[in-house]
């Protein structure tokens, strides 16, 4: 038997009391694309961060070509020609592509022209269309990822670990990435591809390792498996099927109406350009698009956190264009923000305090001029129960909860206190399947309660299963509004990439 290129043997890793990896053994060969498949929190990233030297294993050994090695830092990992593309890029956005690539890899005086030429050569070799002199902040997310890959290529890496590389890409960019992965592995390099998307696995991998709760649950060659078998290995508990919503089963009353909404940046480039749409009572209106195309600004403008330059917003016949955030909340507007740590909760406060946060000024909570603690406690416990939040009680600090449970509390708060219209901005980002399911049911229930819902998501499957209609955003403009049944993933992909409706057909 051949010695594998890289091998992990019996790796275990514990975070405080939680087991992240237990007895994980895996190997990868030259020329192979190994997919590491599993749900969020299954321990895929942890395991790879150990190989990359970011974490240290509590037990176990690492071998390269049969020789035992220890990797204490990313720098040492690079010495063994291992490179890892993190989920969150570590690029200096104010610096150029070249500056980012050579950071830490050059000594003394820098010959900028030489370095730029070297990098341009690499980009040509792999057919990347990236300008070495451009600043990172002027690049798209897809291009930034290419810069991360170029960093690895600049260092001559032979093993490339990619952590959920397709999460931020358009379908077309995903294709380009897959081509690169295949090309790169054909040149005798190894790739480990971390993902939870079955389709990608079947497309690119030669071998698949499935992880669940920190343990390896399957190691199969692609030819000998199929998506059904993989998903079974991935998910232990059966998930209740969501009822597919039918188009147009909402009432015709307009709830939220946005007309000609435009938001300008300081420099005058519009972040949102002439956005108009209506959301009806009992309708889920999906906003699709690659993140950073104006969705965040739209949510902020509707909830009142961002001043618009032009246009009007109406909620139930009330012109809320110039109303304060507080007034909008009183009118029944809810907002589940995408970044719950930043906009959703105060992590060092208890759950009941976080529940109070949204409507703290309301006389509902007052008793003799003080906060009615008992009422608050009851309400919080009610939310905990109703939304199946796994928490010791209303007194637990928000940060003690897992991401999914934090999100359930926010969703519960918004749903309970907002009677008319709720924005869900990326409500399931970073959640595991159980929590996702929970949030989805909550959204559908609010639809049944005849509330109008705006669902912003980069997960197309989420948009497709939940929305009645979908608006596709690209560079701050609506590419088109469609009934969900009129769309398929290819068409929506092209629209998300900036092709207009006619071209997309």
């Amino acid at each position: 038997m051949d010695t594998p290129f890289f091998e992990l043997k019996n790796i275990s890793k514990y975070f405080a009391k939680v087991i992240a990896n237990k007895d994980v053994s895996l190997s990868v060969d030259k020329g192979e694309v190994l997919a590491l498949l599993g749900e969020n929190g299954a321990g895929k990233s942890t395991c790879m961060k150990i190989l990359y030297g970011l974490y240290h294993a509590d037990e176990g050994e690492i071998f390269k070509e049969g020789k035992r090695i220890t990797i204490k830092s990313p720098k040492e990992a690079m010495r063994y020609k291992i490179s890892m593309i993190q989920q969150h890029f570590s690029l200096v956005s104010a610096h150029t592509v070249t500056e980012n690539i050579i950071l830490g890899n050059v000594k003394g005086r820098i010959n900028w022209i030489d370095e730029e030429r070297k990098i341009q050569k690499l980009t040509d070799q792999y057919g990347f269309d990236v300008d070495a002199r451009k600043k990172i902040k002027d690049l798209t997310v897809g291009e930034q990822q290419k810069v991360e890959i170029l960093k690895a290529l600049y260092l001559d890496a032979n093993l490339l670990i990619m952590d959920e590389p397709t999460a931020v890409l358009t379908p077309q960019e995903i294709d380009t990435l897959m081509e690169f992965v295949k090309d790169y592995s054909r040149r005798g390099n190894a790739v480990i591809f971390i993902t939870h998307k079955l389709k990608e696995v079947m497309n690119v991998a030669s071998r698949i390792i499935v992880m669940r709760s920190g343990i390896i649950h399957g190691n199969v060659l692609k030819e000998k498996t199929n998506e059904v078998e993989l998903s079974r290995m991935m998910i232990e508990h059966k998930i209740e099927e969501l009822e597919k919503v039918k188009d147009n089963n909402y009432v015709k009353d307009v709830c939220l109406s946005v007309k000609g909404l435009t938001i300008k940046q300081k420099k005058g480039i519009p972040l949102l350009k002439n956005i108009s749409f209506d959301i009806h009572k009992g309708e889920i209106f999906g906003i699709a698009g690659v993140s950073g195309n104006g969705q965040q600004e739209l949510c902020m403008a509707i909830c009142g956190a961002l001043k618009q330059a032009e246009g009007s917003i109406n909620l139930d016949d009330t012109d809320i264009t110039n109303l304060s955030i507080k007034k909008r909340i009183e009118l029944g507007m809810g907002y589940v923000p995408s970044d719950r740590h930043r906009y959703g909760m105060i992590m060092d406060m208890s759950l009941s305090e976080n529940v109070l946060l949204k409507t703290s000024y309301s006389s509902e909570w007052k008793k003799n001029g003080l906060i009615d603690r008992k009422k608050l406690k009851d309400k919080t416990n009610q939310i905990i129960k109703k939304f199946n939040v796994k928490a010791p009680g209303h007194y637990s600090l928000a940060r003690e909860l897992s991401g999914g449970n934090q999100q359930k509390v926010i969703v519960g708060r918004e749903v309970e206190f907002c009677g008319e219209f709720i924005i869900f901005d990326q409500p399931t980002r970073g959640l595991d399947l159980g929590a996702i399911n929970n949030v989805h049911s909550a959204i559908l229930k609010e639809k049944q309660n005849n509330k109008a819902i705006m669902l912003v998501s980069t997960e197309l499957s989420e948009i497709f299963t939940l929305s009645d209609r979908v608006a596709i955003f690209y560079k701050g403009e609506i590419q088109g509004i469609f009934k969900t049944s009129e769309l398929n993933s290819e068409k929506i992909g092209l629209l998300m990439a900036g092709y207009k409706h006619q071209e997309a057909i």
Binding site: F15, L54, Y55, S73, P74, K75, E76, M78, Q86, S90, L91, V92, S93, A94, H95, E99, N100, I102, L103, G104, N105, V106, K107, G108, R109, I110
Partner: protein, 304 residues
């Protein structure tokens, strides 16, 4: 008179340049040296004391550098190693140093009846160059520390933009994570830069005591550390910008000194003394676009 004013302006710019240039480097790594006022004062005291006791100005400057270094190491240890709040730490150290310097001054010298003085740094007229009319007197008849800024500015620019060290420094303030991932210790970069800044700022402090006045009082610095701190902002975290900023402030200070000695003025003396400080406020407000290092003032805490 104009030549005299400009020559004095060059001289008064010198310590500000030392201070703001080191601030540029530190802040590019993400650490504001808010202890700068204290480091200046420590440098002024140590420089004076060493020069007075040994009779050697060179030793005075050396001790000032060492004193500045020790305060900077204390500051770096608290904010970089222990990751404490930069403004709070700096303020505490500044207060500490004022007390420490008055204390040490008493311990070493007691309460002298007449002010203690040393002969300040001599001006060295460079051969030939100093003979150029006007320019010669302004630029080439200065003391050794002022001459060194002619080298420090281009050197600082070169290091920051043309070397890998500069790239690492600039990246550390923008995205320490990226630096960490490329295998460089963020703490080490920050610690070393702050330490080097301490040396520079210690010398800057000594300039006031032994480079120019030839004496020491506990209010000798009088907020000039903060002015250097502000110049770094105004100069957009760029050595050239810092240089231009120090020239403006040097001029303001020279003007104030000139007006002070010129009693035939209509305006009150105090106004001119306050001039550099007023200028700081006006320029800080009027400065439009800033190029602030995005992680300025933030401790780098590694996950796990």
């Amino acid at each position: 008179m104009i030549v005299n004013l400009l020559s004095r302006a060059m001289m008064m710019s010198t310590p500000l340049l030392f201070g703001s240039l080191s601030e540029v480097f530190s802040e590019r790594t993400g650490v504001m040296v808010t202890a700068i006022e204290g480091i200046f004062l420590m440098g002024a005291w140590a420089g004076f004391t060493a020069a007075y006791i040994t009779g050697s100005l060179a030793l005075g400057i050396l001790f000032a550098a060492l004193a500045g270094l020790s305060v900077a190491i204390l500051y770096a240890f608290i904010v970089v190693t222990l990751k404490q709040h930069q403004i709070v730490t700096g303020t505490a150290i500044n207060i500490l140093i004022i007390g420490l310097c008055s204390f040490l001054q008493r311990v070493v010298f007691g309460v002298p009846l007449s002010p203690l003085t040393v002969e300040p740094l001599k001006k060295i007229a460079l051969p030939l160059l100093s003979k150029i009319p006007l320019i010669g007197t302004i630029f080439f008849n200065q003391n050794i520390l002022t001459y060194s800024i002619y080298i420090l500015v281009p050197l600082g620019f070169f290091i920051l933009y043309k070397t890998s060290l500069g790239l690492v420094i600039r990246s550390t303030g923008e995205n320490p994570e990226a630096v960490d991932v490329s295998g460089i210790s963020v703490s080490k970069v920050r610690f070393m830069t702050v330490a080097a800044s301490g040396i520079m700022c210690g010398i800057a402090g000594a300039f006031y005591s032994i480079g120019y006045l030839g004496m020491f009082t506990t209010n000798i610095i009088g907020g000039r550390g903060w002015i250097a701190f502000a110049i770094c902002f105004l100069g957009n975290w760029n050595p050239i910008g810092a240089f231009i900023g120090t020239l403006i402030f040097g001029l303001a200070e020279a003007f104030a000194i000139l007006m002070q000695s010129n009693s035939a003025t209509m305006l009150p003396n105090e106004l001119f003394i306050a001039l550099p400080y007023i200028l700081t406020i006006i320029l800080t407000i009027s400065r439009k676009s800033f190029n602030v290092p995005s992680k300025l003032g933030t401790a780098y805490i590694k996950e796990n």
